[in-house]
Symmetry: none
Subunit: 209 residues, 4 copies
DNA sequence: TATGAATGAGCCTTCATTCAT
DNA sequence: GATGAATGAAGGCTCATTCAT
């Protein structure tokens, strides 16, 4: 019978619906200010039911985090698969990261915030899946760097593993800066386009031979 | 009589003692999980007394944040004052930033966390002083870049204002990565020294002519 | 199924039980000195549960106030419906008011205190229902006065609207006096029966033709 | 030496200054919302000093209450001393009461609120002086009533002691009604002048022969 | 006498989680 | 599986009062 299977699918659908609601809730209100009551109301489910699908509020947040990393991985994978030199691939991945962050700023925050030292959910025993996705993103970058070194588009004296991490960290830092609320009087402060250009300039010049 | 003056000094000393305790508390437990009760216990003061020195929990945190930015500014100022080419100054400031982050990881977090989008205290009307310190740090970097362009150590086609922000963002991202808790099994994951080296390599190559 | 209906009834029952407890608590301790902890203990409910039924302490008090005015209105309505001249109706309503105040001294206080200038809950946006009950009481009195003027039991030169308010104010003042605690040594001070008699004497003579 | 005497006068002056400040504070903010800190700031005295003059916050309030009753007594005494029939004296005292309440609405409230059952300070062992002033006011009224019975302006079958209390209670109730904040939409509700007229009409007709 | 820093009990309210139905 | 009433441990903050100086 497909009965059991159908039930499973149904359950997964519900789970995703909860996550959808949680996403918009958490990102609108902030994680700490969001309550399970609000989530229950938004999902039109009872509070008890929520706990049938997620063991805790943190788990809900974690699931969103995983979602976000999964999606980011897809963006990176696509960029990594493009034709071109290794350097071009690296730059394409950088662009993909920026696109992701601009298209899904909330997802980006879920990733950035979650990884923060002292972040609310990190260091939990079940935080495994998310980490793997993170590693995979790094791995794409490492491979592209090595490809670039083989095809001559990237300097040979670069240590690919470390540089990949540096590039990712740089991207995260940049997006966090760009997404930070203008602290005062809403002054123009900086031009996102110019910022991106400067970064790509730095990376291209810094990596290429 | 210096009585009044002494009282004022005494008061300031107490204030700083509270901040010291708050620092270690907040950074150990995280801001949200720290309570005023805990702070009272740690300072061996009553809860009421705490509110004689700080109007709210947020204000305590903000004061730490200001402290941190002040100190970081000193680090940067010192580096910015060193002899050498503009490029060397830029790199020296990068090194100073890393030194600061390693010497005072908690202060670094205070800065990084506070600036986070959706951060708990940002956008308050009194969050001005802190912002100015931030701007000053950027300014040091801009000047060093321009100096480098004049003395020939840095490419002329670089837009100093944007690049300064990129460099700062990069540093923040890198330190956040390095300070992130090893998410699992404590695997070595990455080598901080190699990471720093890779970053300086990227920056030097990326900026110089 | 009447399941849902039963639940609703159950909920209402609980609500009333909380109000019962709150009544005796507030009137014993005074509103300001009563705490939600006390109310929780008295109802043998947790403090959190209290907030499932009432949004705030003020709302609890307000609910009591409404209860009181509702009951008073019933007393007045009954008296207003009696046979007799208008004057007799007015006096009957006065007597009903006194009966109410003697039977439910706490309710009387809830009304008197709530209406007090500077009372804690007044001027809230939801304080509407209560006010309407108050107006209705006045209305009964106005009608009785006019009836009396038609049937000749009450002087024609009396302005019914103003006189109704005067009579109500008089009654309130009198009951407040009678309910005031003997400030010292418990001396007899005054005789409630004589007081009532004096008031009815005054009103009868003052109104009749 | 007049030294000690001067000190005593100085002390009394300070005491009165505190009361002046407390009056405007309490009546502006409400008793419960006023804090000793506020009073200290208003008097430009330290909080500790306040406790040198008054044993508690309640005592401060009580002193204001006494002040108020004293002043009311003066108003009544003056009216009671006027020439005319007993009835005229009674009515004059009523008018004096209304004048007092309109001139010093805050004082009136201090009296009315303090006497309220469950009022914050009542039933304290030291609440004696105030009570005496209250009795004196009653006494004036009793005498005027008896005078009226002698001079034929007031019915003989009235029991002066009870009627005096009724009249006072009536006045209090009326003023409380008139001072109550318009509960809704600021509608005109009632006309104070008409109210006063109605009351005097009732009393005159009710008392006179 | 005057100060004001320190106290600490207490207040109202919130909310993640549980569990009987 | 779904519900939602009940829980209770905190949480941030207030304020009348005390006391060493």
């Amino acid at each position: 019978m497909g009965t059991q299977e159908r039930k499973l699918r149904e359950r997964e659908r519900r789970r995703q619906a909860i996550l959808d609601a949680a996403e918009s809730l958490f990102f609108e209100m902030g994680l700490e200010k969001s309550t399970m009551d609000m989530l229950a109301e938004k999902t039109e489910l009872s509070k008890g039911t929520l706990y049938l699908y997620f063991a805790s509020k943190d788990q809900v947040y974690y699931a969103i985090h995983v979602r976000a990393k999964k999606l980011l991985c897809q963006y990176l994978a696509e960029a990594a698969g493009k034709k071109g030199t290794g350097l071009q691939q690296v730059l394409a991945m950088g662009q993909a990261f920026l696109n992701f962050a601009q298209t899904y700023p909330n997802y980006f925050r879920a990733i950035a915030f979650y990884d923060l030292p002292g972040g609310s959910v990190a260091e939990e025993p079940w935080a495994t899946e998310a980490h793997l996705y993170g590693l995979q993103g790094i791995d794409y970058c490492v491979r592209a760097l090595k490809t670039g070194q083989k095809d001559g588009s990237i300097r040979m004296d670069i240590e690919a593993n470390s540089m990949a991490l540096v590039l990712v960290a740089q991207l995260k830092g940049l997006v966090m800066l760009m997404q930070a609320p203008p602290p005062l009087d809403g002054a123009e402060e900086f031009n996102p386009v110019a910022l991106e250009a400067a970064m790509f300039d730095l990376v291209r010049a810094g990596l290429s031979r």
